[in-house]
Amino acid sequence: MNSPNTSAPARNVDVARHTDHHKLMHRIRAFETAALKANEEKLVLGAIHPSIGQEAIAAGVCANLRRDDYLLSTHRGHGHTLAKGANANQMMRELLGREGGNSQGKGGSMHIADFSVGMLGANGVVGANINIAAGAAHAIKLKGEDKVSLSIFGDGAINRGPFLEGLNWAKVFELPAVFVCEDNGFASTTRTDAMTAGPGPAARAESLGIPAVTVDGNDVVAVDEAARELVEAARSGGGPRFLVCKTYRLTGHTAADAAPYRPSAEVDEAWKNDPIARCAALLLGAGVSQDELSAHATDATAEMEAVYEDAKAAAWPAIDLAYADVQDIGDPREEANRW
């Protein structure tokens, strides 16, 4: 599934850029580690889907997006959202259902969104973000803007109808849309290849006239470079593009899933291919000190522990919010039909 090769080939290393990746990946990992702790402490209330092991995709892809570009994500969206520039405090508050969460505690992890940085939402329905992203790209085209709209989804999503409809749509209208498939080998407890016919996501995209590139999704440099080209092509009027990132889900499907359906040796092996360690090795080779690299980790951990403390201390959202933002027309309170 993923390349077990942890030493990157010799290449020109952009130290500043990859240092940013390294920091960001640590921040994502630390955020999710804190979220898992919060989950154990029963302070996260709904399901959370960690992206541990997949951080290179979030970092590498989003490094190529502007703040005003659009991003649409999945149930496994913490990393993407952080990488797009969302505020970690607001995100953690959202996961804990507290006041000051991005969505005022009304959405939680599976609906994480931050419109202030162009992040238009994770989604609880597999594949639903694909058409929404195509539509955001449609708006960009209609308004004559130079933004792109990028959606990230899993390898399980490619079997849903909206995958076909959304990609066809983006190509028919030649929209500035980029589709990124995180191919982590699993859809919940099922190995994806058992339920996926044919050669996979890239071939499907190509059959719809959309150029597709496949990369090692645990190599942040490869992801970054591929994404740069694809985003650029889409932004400059070249029509939609497709990126497949091969990776592995190091945790269970949700925080509650111990993943007994796969051998631990497989997981151990996959840990050797940890994208953060690979990025660190690259930077070390390029002359960055181990101390500095370690500092990224400890800084991230400290940041996210504070983020968690902040969220823990936050109040519940005001009850009135239950009736806010339903729709402008009609009063939902009047319709409560209670005694």
Partner: protein
């Protein structure tokens, strides 16, 4: 005041709003050739194919892409062709469009109009005849409208396009050709305001969409017999004009709700339940629902007609209630 058809009124409203706001656009299958009922005829010539946009046969994408396009600052008018085909895009409407604003804590609104031509249209059979308006009244976040006249189609479609949230907009296929007076300078018609089509003292009849015309026939028949029926056209089902209905039934003491869709689980139940509760002890007769039996719609006319509530049946019911 100009005379125009129900279809033309819709077209005129859309064209006006597209002239007024460059962010309004329409998308659906075959729109470039005027739409399957001609309700977009000529618009592509004025607005071009980007704003009167064809679409692949991809209802989920039409609906889902419009959600994204609405979030990203445009105002899509979505053409579903037949209300039945909107069933290919229910996740996009109910799980996405209707919930996004709330679920995302007010970070976005989803201004879009979903046009769903509804209802029986001679021998269109079970997959091209459905009226599922009650479904959408049950979904928080959605507004639901069902105009019965050219003037209402003009005024309500304008409101729908200007609304900042998704509006499910039911046009009745049997009304496309209906002519009527339209004041082109009139303000948009707000949702939740019923139209008292006829005042009366003995019984109230509540209807919407094409059923208003059947009810009017019944009211005329009753008038000849000296029974004075008040006919209320709800125009929108969510919100619905509870005040107008309660005021009317408070006066007449009797209510018939009639709709084309299936009686069981239809919106008539909501109205009947609400009125029965609010006017408990003040009614002169039980509230009566006249609607379709719980059967799919047939192709053969005599079987199809079993599903229709006729003016005669409305009149008969009213007569019996008044003499009770």
């Amino acid at each position: 005041m100009v005379t125009m058809s129900y279809a033309e009124a819709g077209k005129q409203a859309l064209a006006d709003e597209m002239r007024r706001d460059p962010l309004v656009w329409a998308v659906g299958e075959d729109l470039g050739r005027g739409g399957v009922f001609g309700q977009y005829k000529g618009l592509v010539e004025e607005f071009g194919p980007d704003r009167i946009s064809d679409a692949p046969i991809s209802e989920a994408a039409i609906m889902g892409a419009s959600v994204g396009a609405a979030m990203a600052g445009t105002r899509p008018v979505v053409e579903m062709r037949f209300a039945d085909f909107a069933l290919c895009a229910v996740d996009e409407l109910v799980n996405q469009a209707a919930k996004a604003r709330y679920m995302l804590g007010g970070q976005t609104k989803v201004p879009m109009v979903i046009r769903e031509p509804m209802g029986m249209w001679r021998s269109s059979a079970a997959q091209h005849s459905q009226s599922l308006e009650s479904w959408y009244t049950h979904i928080p976040g959605l507004t639901v409208a069902a105009p019965s006249t050219p003037a209402d189609n003009f005024g309500l479609l304008k409101s729908a396009i200007r609304a900042d949230d998704p509006v499910v907009y039911f046009e009745h296929k049997n009304l496309w050709g209906l002519e009527g007076e339209v004041d082109e300078a009139a303000d948009p018609i707000p949702f939740g305001k019923a139209r008292i089509e006829r005042e009366g003292a003995d019984i109230t009849i509540v209807a919407w969409s094409a059923m208003v015309h059947f009810a009017r026939e019944a009211v005329n028949t009753l008038a000849e017999e000296g029974i004075s029926a008040e006919l209320i056209d709800l125009r929108s089902l969510w919100p619905w004009d509870k005040d107008a209905v309660l005021a009317s039934v408070g006066k007449t003491g009797r209510l018939i709700v009639t709709h084309e869709s299936v009686s069981v689980g239809g919106f008539g139940a909501e109205i009947a339940a609400t009125v029965s509760e609010a006017l408990f002890g003040k009614l002169k007769a039980p509230v009566k629902r006249l609607a379709a039996p719980r059967i799919p719609i047939s192709y053969a006319p005599p079987l199809e007609d079993e599903v229709r509530v006729s003016p005669a049946r409305i009149a008969e019911t009213a007569r019996a209630m008044v003499s009770q």
